[in-house]
C-alpha cells in the first residue's frame, strides 16, 4: 500500500453548488406539478446549473488525474465507488421489477377472485385477470387497445443494445492494446447505437400514445410499461452522454493503456444498462 500519497483535495465549491442546484430542480419541479408554470424557470436553471457544476467538478477531477495526483489506492476508491453506485441502481430497478412481478402474480389474480385473498373480487365481480391487462377493473380507466409485438421494434432495440455492448468492449480492448484509432471508431459506433436506441424508443412511445392506447393512465400495464422502459431510457440517455464525454477525452488523447478508469466506469454503466434491458425485453415485452 502506498501510504502518504493518497490525494485529499483542498476545499471545493462544486459540492455545495451541486446541492443547491439539485434543490432548485426539486423545488422547481414540485412547484410546476403543484402550483403551475412558475416552477419551470427554477427547474430549468437548476438543471443547467447541475450540468455546469458536474462539468466543472469533473474537469477538476480530470485535471488532478492527469497531473498524476492519484495513486493506485485512489483508483481503487473510484472502483469501489462506481461499483457500489451501480449496485444502488440495480436495487432501484429491482423495486420496479418487484412491482411488475407482484402485480402479475398476486394483485391481478386476487382481483379476479383467486386464492385466499380472492375476496378482492367483490370489488369488481366482472373483472378477469390477464396480462397484458387490456381491461382494468374499473370501467372509468381505459386500457390499451393492443400491445407491442416483442419481435419488431423491441427486438431491433435488443440487438442494437447488445451490439453496442460488444462495440464498446472492442473499443476498450483497442485502448488497452494501444490502438487509439480503433478505440475511437468503435466508441463512436457505440454512441451511435445508443442514439439509435433512444430514437427508436422515442418512436415506440409515440406509437404507444397514438395507435396502441398505451398511456400512463391506461391502468397498471401502461404504468409499469412506462415506469420501467422510461427509467431505462433515461439511463441510456445518461449513459450516452457519459460515453460522448469519454469519446471527447479519447479524442483529446487522454487515457493510457493501463490507466483509464473513467472509460471503464462508463463501460460498467453501459453494460449495466444493457443487462437491465435484457430483463425488460424478457419480462415487459416477451412474457
Amino acid at each position: 500500500m502506498s501510504g502518504g500519497s493518497y490525494y485529499v483535495p483542498v476545499s471545493s465549491k462544486w459540492p455545495v453548488l451541486a446541492s443547491l442546484a439539485m434543490g432548485a430542480i426539486m423545488a422547481g419541479a414540485g412547484t410546476l406539478l403543484v402550483f403551475g408554470r412558475a416552477g419551470v424557470p427554477v427547474m430549468v436553471i437548476g438543471l443547467l446549473a447541475v450540468l455546469a457544476v458536474m462539468t466543472l467538478w469533473f474537469r477538476d477531477v480530470i485535471h488532478e488525474s492527469r497531473s498524476g495526483l492519484y495513486d493506485a489506492r485512489m483508483d481503487r476508491s473510484f472502483r469501489w465507488g462506481m461499483g457500489w453506485f451501480i449496485f444502488s441502481e440495480v436495487m432501484f430497478f429491482a423495486a420496479f421489477f418487484g412491482t411488475l412481478f407482484y402485480v402479475r402474480t398476486f394483485a391481478l389474480p386476487w382481483l379476479d377472485g383467486e386464492g385466499a385473498k380472492g375476496v378482492a373480487a367483490l370489488l369488481w365481480p366482472d373483472f378477469t385477470a390477464s396480462w397484458p391487462l387490456l381491461e382494468p377493473p374499473d370501467k372509468a380507466i381505459q386500457g390499451p387497445h393492443e400491445t407491442f409485438s416483442p419481435w419488431h421494434l423491441p427486438l431491433v432495440n435488443t440487438l442494437i443494445l447488445v451490439s453496442s455492448s460488444i462495440t464498446l468492449t472492442v473499443a476498450h480492448e483497442g485502448l488497452k492494446e494501444g490502438y487509439r484509432t480503433t478505440a475511437r471508431h468503435w466508441l463512436t459506433g457505440t454512441v451511435l447505437l445508443g442514439t439509435c436506441f433512444i430514437a427508436i424508443q422515442g418512436f415506440e412511445y409515440h406509437e404507444a400514445y397514438t395507435h396502441y392506447g398505451i398511456t400512463l393512465q391506461a391502468g397498471i400495464y401502461g404504468a409499469t410499461f412506462f415506469l420501467m422502459t422510461g427509467f431505462h431510457g433515461l439511463h441510456v440517455i445518461i449513459g450516452t452522454i457519459i460515453l460522448i464525454s469519454i469519446l471527447g477525452r479519447v479524442i483529446r488523447g487522454h487515457f493510457s493503456r493501463d490507466d483509464h478508469f473513467a472509460f471503464e466506469a462508463a463501460a460498467w454503466y453501459w453494460h449495466f444498462v444493457d443487462v437491465v434491458w435484457i430483463g425488460l425485453f424478457t419480462f415487459v415485452y416477451v412474457f
Partner: protein
C-alpha cells in the same frame, strides 16, 4: 499495547492545523466558506452532528406538541389535521434528520480515525452528501407553509392516504426525500470505500473496531434499500401527478403493493438506525469495563446475520393487511429468528462487563442504559412478531412504545454515548461529567416515564396517531406527557454540556479514556485537522 500510546510522529506536521487555524500549505478558506467548501472528514462530521442536533430539537418540538395535545382527553391545543402533520413530520424529521445524520456524522469523524485513514475515500462527494441534507429539510419543512399543510399520512405514507387523499405538498415531500436518499446513498458509498480501501497497513477486516464493522454493514444496507424507497416514492409521485394506477386497484394496481415496497425499504431502514448504535456500545463497554470485547467474531457475524435477516421480515409490519396465511407464518418465524443474533449481542455485552473494572462516566451510563432499555424494546418486538397477537397490538400505542424503546433509549442513547465518548477527541476537553450525569439520569427517568406507560395504554387498546382518546387512557397519557416534557427539557442540558465542552473544560490527553485501545486514541486531543497522512503502524490486538 501501552508501548505505542504517545502520539506518533506521523501527526507532527499536521500540528499547525490544530484548532481550526488555517494551515498555510492548504490555504483553507475561513469563516462560513470554510464550512461550505470543506472536504475534511472532521469538519463534515461536525456539520452532520450539528444538523442532527438541530433536527433533534425540531422533531422534539413536534413531539412536545403531540404530547401537549394528548396530556388530557379531548381536543385542546391543535386541530386534528395539524396533529396528523405533527406525527408525520416528527417521524420523518427524527428518522431522516436526526438519527441517520447523527450516525453518518459519527462515521465521518471516527471511521477514518479508527481505521487509520487520512480522510474519507472521496472527500468532495462527502461534502456533497452533507449539503444535500439542509436543502432537503428546508424543502420538507417548507411544506408547513403550503396550502393544505404538511404531509399528514404518517411517516409510512401508506397509499391511498399518501396518494388519493394527500395534501398538495406531498409532491414536495417526495422530492425532499429523494434528496435525502441521494445523500444517504452517496454517504454510504463513501463509507464503504473508506473502510475497504483506506485501512492502515496490517489492519485486516477482523481487526477493525466494531463501530467500523457495524457501519460497513449499515452502509451496505443503505445502498441496498434507499433506492427501493426512491422507487416507491417515485411511483407515488406518478400516481399523484400523472394518473398512473400503481397503488389503485381500479386500474389493476394494489395499495398493499405500496406497503410491501415501503417495508422492504423500511425494515432494513430500522436496522440502519440501530446497527451503528450496536457498534458504538460495543466500543464503549470494553473501554469502561477495561476488558476486550467478549466474542468479537460472534459480534461481527451477528451483525451480518441481522442485516441479512432484515431483508426477509418486512411483512411483519403488515400482519393485519390481509396477507395469505403462508406469508403470516413465514414472516412470523423469520422475525423471531432475529432474536438469536440480537441475543448473541446482548450476551456479549453483559459478558464483557462480567468481572470488568467498571467505571460509570456518562458514555458508559448511556451505553449501559442502552443494553437494558434496548432489550426491553427487543422483547416487545418479539411479542409483536407473534402474528395472532399482533392482530391485537397492531397500530396501538404498544407499537409506539416498542419502536420508541429501540429508537430513543436505543439509537439516541447510543448516539449520546458516542458523543460523550468522543467529545474529548473532538474538542480536547472532557465534557462536564457532573452535568453529564444529571443529563443521563433525567433522560433515563424521563424516557421511561414517557414510553413505559404506552405499553399499557396500547395493550388496553389505545390506537396510535389520534389526537383524542377514550377516558380510560387519561392517566397513562398524562404520565407519558409529563415524562416527555421532562425528557425534552433535559436535552437542553445536553446542549449545555456540548457548548461548555467546546469552550473549555478539563484538558484531555491523547488517550482520553483509560481503557480506550482503538487508533483514535493515538492522535492528540483535539484531533488535528489532518491525521494519519502517513498511515500508522497498526498492531492487531488479540480479540
Amino acid at each position: 499495547m501501552a508501548s505505542h500510546l504517545p502520539p506518533k510522529s506521523t501527526t507532527q506536521h499536521s500540528q499547525p492545523a490544530t484548532a481550526g487555524v488555517a494551515s498555510q500549505a492548504h490555504a483553507t478558506p475561513r469563516g462560513i466558506k470554510r464550512w461550505l467548501l470543506t472536504t475534511n472528514h472532521k469538519e463534515i462530521g461536525t456539520l452532520y452532528l450539528v444538523l442532527s442536533l438541530t433536527m433533534f430539537f425540531v422533531g422534539g418540538l413536534f413531539a412536545m406538541v403531540i404530547r401537549a395535545e394528548l396530556f388530557q382527553p379531548g381536543l385542546q391545543l391543535v386541530e386534528p389535521e395539524f396533529f396528523n402533520q405533527m406525527t408525520t413530520m416528527h417521524g420523518l424529521i427524527m428518522i431522516f434528520g436526526a438519527v441517520m445524520p447523527a450516525f453518518v456524522g459519527l462515521a465521518n469523524w471516527m471511521v477514518p480515525l479508527q481505521v487509520g485513514a487520512p480522510d474519507m475515500a472521496l472527500p468532495r462527494l462527502n461534502n456533497f452528501s452533507f449539503w444535500l441534507l439542509p436543502v432537503a429539510f428546508t424543502l420538507l419543512l417548507s411544506t408547513f407553509f403550503m396550502p393544505g399543510g404538511a404531509p399528514n399520512f404518517g411517516w409510512t405514507s401508506y397509499a391511498p392516504l399518501s396518494t388519493t387523499y394527500s395534501p398538495p405538498s406531498t409532491t414536495f415531500f417526495i422530492f425532499s426525500l429523494h434528496l435525502a436518499g441521494i445523500s444517504s446513498i452517496l454517504g454510504a458509498i463513501n463509507i464503504i470505500a473508506t473502510i475497504l480501501n483506506l485501512r492502515a497497513p496490517g489492519m485486516r477486516l477482523m481487526d477493525m473496531p466494531l463501530f467500523v464493522w457495524t457501519w460497513l454493514i449499515t452502509a451496505f444496507l443503505l445502498i441496498a434499500v434507499m433506492p427501493i424507497l426512491a422507487g416507491v416514492i417515485t411511483m407515488m409521485l406518478l400516481d399523484i401527478n400523472f394518473g398512473t394506477s400503481f397503488f389503485s386497484a381500479a386500474g389493476g394496481g394494489d395499495p398493499v403493493l405500496f406497503q410491501h415496497l415501503f417495508w422492504f425499504f423500511g425494515h432494513p431502514e430500522v436496522y440502519i438506525m440501530i446497527l451503528p448504535a450496536f457498534g458504538i456500545v460495543s466500543v464503549i463497554i470494553p473501554t469502561f469495563a477495561r476488558k476486550p470485547l467478549f466474542g468479537y467474531a460472534s459480534m461481527v457475524y451477528a451483525t451480518a446475520s441481522i442485516a441479512i435477516l432484515s431483508f426477509l421480515v418486512w411483512a411483519h409490519h403488515m400482519f393485519t393487511v390481509g396477507l395469505p396465511l403462508v406469508a403470516e407464518l413465514f414472516f412470523m418465524y423469520s422475525t423471531m429468528l432475529i432474536a438469536v443474533p440480537t441475543g448473541v449481542k446482548v450476551f456479549n455485552w453483559v459478558t464483557t462487563l462480567f468481572r470488568g473494572s467498571i467505571t460509570f462516566e456518562p458514555p458508559m451510563l448511556f451505553a449501559l442504559a442502552f443494553v437494558v432499555l434496548f432489550t426491553i424494546g427487543g422483547f416487545s418486538g418479539l411479542m409483536l412478531a407473534i402474528s395472532p397477537a399482533d392482530f391485537q397490538y397492531h397500530d396501538t400505542y404498544f407499537v409506539v412504545a416498542h419502536f420508541h424503546y429501540v429508537l430513543v433509549p436505543g439509537a439516541v442513547f447510543a448516539i449520546m454515548a458516542g458523543v460523550y465518548y468522543w467529545l474529548p477527541k473532538w474538542t480536547g476537553h472532557y465534557p462536564n461529567l457532573r452535568l453529564g450525569q444529571w443529563h443521563f439520569w433525567l433522560s433515563v427517568i424521563g424516557v421511561n416515564l414517557t414510553f413505559f406507560p404506552m405499553h399499557f395504554a396500547g395493550l388496553a387498546g389505545m390506537p396510535r396517531r389520534i389526537p383524542d382518546y377514550a377516558l380510560q387512557f387519561a392517566d397513562f397519557n398524562m404520565v407519558t406527557s409529563l415524562g416527555a416534557f421532562m425528557f425534552g427539557a433535559s436535552q437542553l442540558l445536553f446542549v449545555a454540556v456540548i457548548v461548555m465542552c467546546i469552550r473549555g473544560g478539563e484538558k484531555a490527553p491523547a488517550k482520553a479514556w483509560e481503557g480506550g485501545e482503538d487508533l483514535e486514541w493515538t492522535v492528540p486531543s483535539p484531533a488535528p485537522l489532518h491525521t494519519f497522512e502517513t498511515p500508522p503502524d497498526f498492531q492487531p490486538r488479540q480479540h
